[in-house]
């Protein structure tokens, strides 16, 4: 079965990679763009069309998905030099999938509309494994026409597409709340497992107990094994949560809403980043706790 159409995926990190591969599997011509040579080579080997610039990827595409890290990069890959808008034809659907401040998402969509594009504010969730199997969750907002045009692409990459309204920005607002919880839960996972080890508990057994109990969270279940096995290969980096919780604090601050848990969790991620762990997996926030507590984590020697 072949689905027709060229789709541009800009940014082949763990989520973008999963989307690009899912689109290939669904029969699209998937055009992937990434700065890293080795990632482009790997994508070519998968059967995709590897592109050096967003403009090249977007040439002839019916849909463009941006899976970069933040608002600055989203801006650059769309409107910057060699950006997608240099080649994108009017009527192209543009899904902005990075976690960005809600106000930016609204503004971005307005400018894309002015250029004749069909914007969707479409941040995603679900983790790298779900992305790879085309089972992401999308928290989206945009006009009916954009959804209609994006439907086959959304079907290929996601099992759950939440439509939160017609105004771009609503998707990013919900994503921001999700990130508040996710960030707090990762830091809580680290706090709990390190404290457990400090109390003399075996981390693998403790992990098993919590997963079967009311203290469980999606993040505990997903990131706990990274700490228990001492594997900090980055699936999502510490610095991502420094950024995402930064968005939360900024947005909450703008409406005078105190968020003490989010602020405390961000301080822990910032401490990890300051200790040189910014590009490790976000579970490496456990190292901040372990050093303060004077204990060695699994995989570390005293």
């Amino acid at each position: 079965m072949t689905t027709s159409g060229k789709i541009a995926v800009i940014g082949l990190g763990s989520m973008g990679w999963g989307a690009a591969v899912s689109l290939l599997r669904a029969g699209f011509e998937s055009r992937g763009c990434d700065l890293r040579d080795e990632v482009r080579a790997k994508f070519t080997a998968e059967g995709g069309v590897a592109c050096v610039s967003p403009a090249e990827a977007a040439d002839g595409a019916t849909t463009i998905l941006t899976f970069v890290v933040n608002a600055e990069q989203t801006e650059a890959v769309l409107f910057g030099d060699g950006g997608a808008l240099e080649t994108a034809a009017p009527g192209t659907v543009v899904l902005s999938c990075a976690t960005v401040p809600p106000a930016y998402a609204t503004d971005l969509a307005a400018r894309l509309s002015q250029r004749g594009m069909l914007p969707l504010d479409a941040p995603v969730s679900g983790g790298a494994a779900k992305a790879l199997t085309g089972e992401m969750t999308v928290m989206s907002a945009g006009a009916e026409a954009a959804y209609a045009a994006a439907q086959p692409v959304l079907d290929a990459i996601a099992t759950k597409v939440y439509r939160l309204g017609e105004t771009p920005g609503l998707g990013s607002q919900v994503k921001m709340i999700n990130q508040l919880l996710a960030g707090v839960h990762i830091a809580a996972t680290a706090e709990a497992l390190v404290f457990g080890m400090k109390c003399g508990l075996d981390p693998a057994t403790l992990y098993e107990v919590i997963c079967a109990s009311a203290g469980n969270s999606w993040m505990f279940e997903n990131r706990g094994p990274h700490i228990v096995n001492g594997d900090y290969t980055p699936h999502s980096a510490v610095d991502i949560f420094v950024k995402d919780l930064g968005i939360v604090l900024q947005e909450a601050g703008a409406i005078d809403f105190p968020t003490p848990l989010a602020a405390t969790a961000r301080a822990q991620f910032e401490a990890a980043s300051a200790a040189g762990l910014g590009r490790e997996d976000d579970a490496a926030v456990a190292k901040v706790y372990a050093r303060a507590a004077g204990i060695a984590l699994p995989g570390e020697t005293d």
Partner: protein
């Protein structure tokens, strides 16, 4: 037929007694409450007037009382278990107590030739009645062996945390630490979402299906969205449990910044008079500080 004694026949103890009976144990039980004891008798149990009487001739003794002081009383007080329990009897302590007290009780029972298990339980009354609770236990291999058939009768899963009594209670404490933080995170996230103009029911649904979800969020976020604060789980219980966590952390010389924030939010909620409501009422403290209006029951 093996004999089990159950001290304390409340929701959890009563359920365990019924499960033991079903598994073929002769069950001897006691409780200060007349109705609880009568119900136990109706289900085929042998009603006793003291812990000592219940423990006489038992192969295994379960303690299902409320807290540390009651555990102390039924084990070592007048008419307590140690008066009659034969050496080699497994004594399974299921009440939630501070970890150092669990360790201390274990040591004192062992000195008397008994086989102690530190064994807090997770799972509600329904699971207790079906013999499907989760046991988070620590104790010697001999204690686990002696208690094996009885534990099988009451539980679906037994976690073995180690040989030293106190480790089971510590694992349970870590579970409470996480649950407490997750409840506060739920309140912080839901109230911020409402303050930013999001529909709370939609927000609860989307996040529950996403990576930001937790067991607690899935329970509590819909309650906040519906304005329903009737208590299936008292907010004040976490005020007590987080105090235990904080005290243990101090003793261990470890700082727990998220737990501290969560505890302060719980304390603020209790001080504002919400201790008798569900933990979802933590949202009211956030709403008050930010001047946000929360949903109310229709």
């Amino acid at each position: 037929m093996p004999v089990a004694a159950v001290i304390g026949l409340g929701i959890m103890g009563g359920g365990a007694a019924a499960s033991l009976k079903r598994a073929g144990f002769t069950v001897r039980g006691c409780d200060v409450s007349g109705p609880a004891l009568a119900k136990f008798k109706d289900r085929g149990g042998i009603a006793c007037t003291s812990a000592a009487e219940a423990a006489e001739g038992a192969d295994v003794v379960f303690v299902f009382v409320m807290d540390a002081s009651q555990t102390e009383l039924v084990l070592f007080g007048a008419g307590g278990v140690v008066d009659t329990a034969a050496p080699g009897t497994a004594v399974i302590c299921c009440a939630t107590v501070p970890p150092d007290i669990a360790s201390d009780i274990g040591e004192r029972l062992a000195k008397r030739g008994l086989l102690p298990l530190d064994a807090p339980i997770s799972g509600g009354g329904k699971k207790a009645l079906m013999g499907e609770v989760t046991v988070i236990a620590a104790g010697s291999p001999e204690a686990f062996e002696a208690a094996g058939p009885a534990l099988d009768a009451i539980s679906a899963k037994v976690f073995r945390l180690g040989e030293t009594p106190g480790l089971g209670t510590r694992a349970k404490m870590i579970n409470q630490l996480l649950g407490g933080i997750h409840n506060v995170a739920t309140a912080e996230a839901m109230t911020l979402g409402i303050a930013s103009g999001l529909d709370p029911a939609t927000l609860a649904e989307v996040v529950t299906a996403s990576a930001g979800s937790s067991w607690m969020f899935a329970q509590r976020a819909p309650r906040i969205a519906a304005g329903d604060y009737a208590a299936p789980s008292l907010l004040s219980i976490f005020v007590k449990d987080l105090a235990i966590v904080t005290k243990e952390a101090e003793a261990a010389g470890m700082s727990l910044p998220l737990t501290e924030v969560a505890r302060a939010q719980y304390q603020a909620a209790a001080d504002a008079g919400f201790g008798g409501e569900d933990s979802a009422a933590l949202a009211k403290v956030y709403a008050e500080r930010a001047g946000v209006k929360l949903p109310e029951v229709d």
